[in-house]
Symmetry: C2
DNA sequence: GTCTATAGGTGGATAGAC
DNA sequence: GTCTATCCACCTATAGAC
């Protein structure tokens, strides 16, 4: 039926174990054991641990960023090229939040993993973040049309603040309920998207900071 | 002259190497070599690699969080118990930004390291974040007095968004200039503090999100 | 495509001399 | 407090039978 369900089982096991224990701390033995595969199968299917890591990221990032651009396209078409700030923020945030928590999506572990990306040795983070180039460009352009009172520098900073802010509900699955006495539930996805959009749209729209020369 | 400059040299070398290559990827041999110390000295001074890691974090986090509380105290005293949202955000954000980029502070590497905390195996992140308990409590209380239109849940989420957003200028030292064509300079600390405060204060003050039941 | 076996290297930790 | 020498567990990668 499949010449290699092993290939996908390895990706799944790697994704989960990387998210739980960190990339560097996950051995190929743990991965192949979790995938009910042989130790040597990683090298057969991917060539090396490095290549397996890249495959794990590419499998999720490509559809995620395509979906972001698709939503932005739709909003721009619907609004005649001038979508609201809320729509733009939503197009950026919602696909990631849904991927992280939608049970069927298979990305439950992946979003934890994204935050761990920067922790790993070598140039892995740089190679992976190349994948965000188009998204970065498209969304900063869309935002700048809706926020003409901001200099390019202020706009870019606010975009970066946005990226940081919503890493929190993505990465804090275990940490946030603990710290908030259960009040904040990261899996309450659609409400959290609304919370984020309200917060971020207001922050993005704020007057340019006083005393900052650009 | 010193019974053990070795102790501090080990902390310094570990901090730098952890930040550059990740905690798990840094061997004791690399640390002792960087500190011009002997391999066994780590076990003599700290007992284990785990204990060394905790000491690296405690050395920076304790003064940082003390300074945050001190600034908040000062603002509350000056404002008769009702400081502005901007003042509260500033008291939270500014000490970390200054620690990360002030050359004399010795924390150049540390703030990169904080972001890597969640990547590491085991319960390290949980043990370290216990150190934030008092700060979390104090700042959410101060914010809630200034933002009575928010439910406790919405307030806590916005606090978490804030924490995430300013991890960006802290961790993105290398990444941000690259991605913004040099327009955004993470080391432009005082201006970035003003940018963050303007952005976050507006986001915190936004109306409660529609359609979110609390 | 899957397996066993093993090579070749590095990790944290420790004993014991000085 | 500092050093050398060493133990032993574990890692990635590969060779070669099936």
């Amino acid at each position: 039926m499949n010449q290699s369900g092993t290939h996908d089982r390895l990706l799944n096991a790697a994704e989960q174990l990387f998210a739980e224990h960190g990339i560097g701390a996950t051995s190929l033995r743990a991965i192949t054991s979790g995938a009910s595969a042989n130790l040597a199968s990683v090298h057969y299917h991917f060539g090396s641990k490095e290549a397996l890591i890249e495959a794990v990221f590419a499998r999720r990032l490509e559809p995620l960023n395509r979906e972001r651009c698709r939503l932005l396209d739709a909003e721009e078409a619907a609004a005649g090229g001038e979508p609201s700030i809320e729509s733009i923020v939503n197009a950026f945030v919602a696909p990631a939040m849904r991927l992280a928590y939608k049970p069927a999506g298979g990305g439950e572990h992946f979003m934890l993993l994204i935050g761990r990306l920067y922790s790993e040795p070598g140039d892995l983070a740089i190679r992976i973040t190349e994948q965000f180039g188009e998204v970065f460009q498209r969304f900063t352009s869309a935002l700048s049309r809706g926020l003409p009172h901001l200099s390019r520098t202020d706009l870019l900073w606010r975009f970066l603040f946005m990226v940081g802010s919503f890493s929190m509900p993505l990465m804090g699955r275990h940490f946030i309920p603990r710290r908030t006495g259960g009040l904040c539930d990261p899996s309450d996805v659609e409400n959290n998207i609304r919370r984020l959009v309200a917060f971020l749209a207001a922050g993005l729209r704020a007057a340019a900071p006083n005393g900052v020369k650009t």
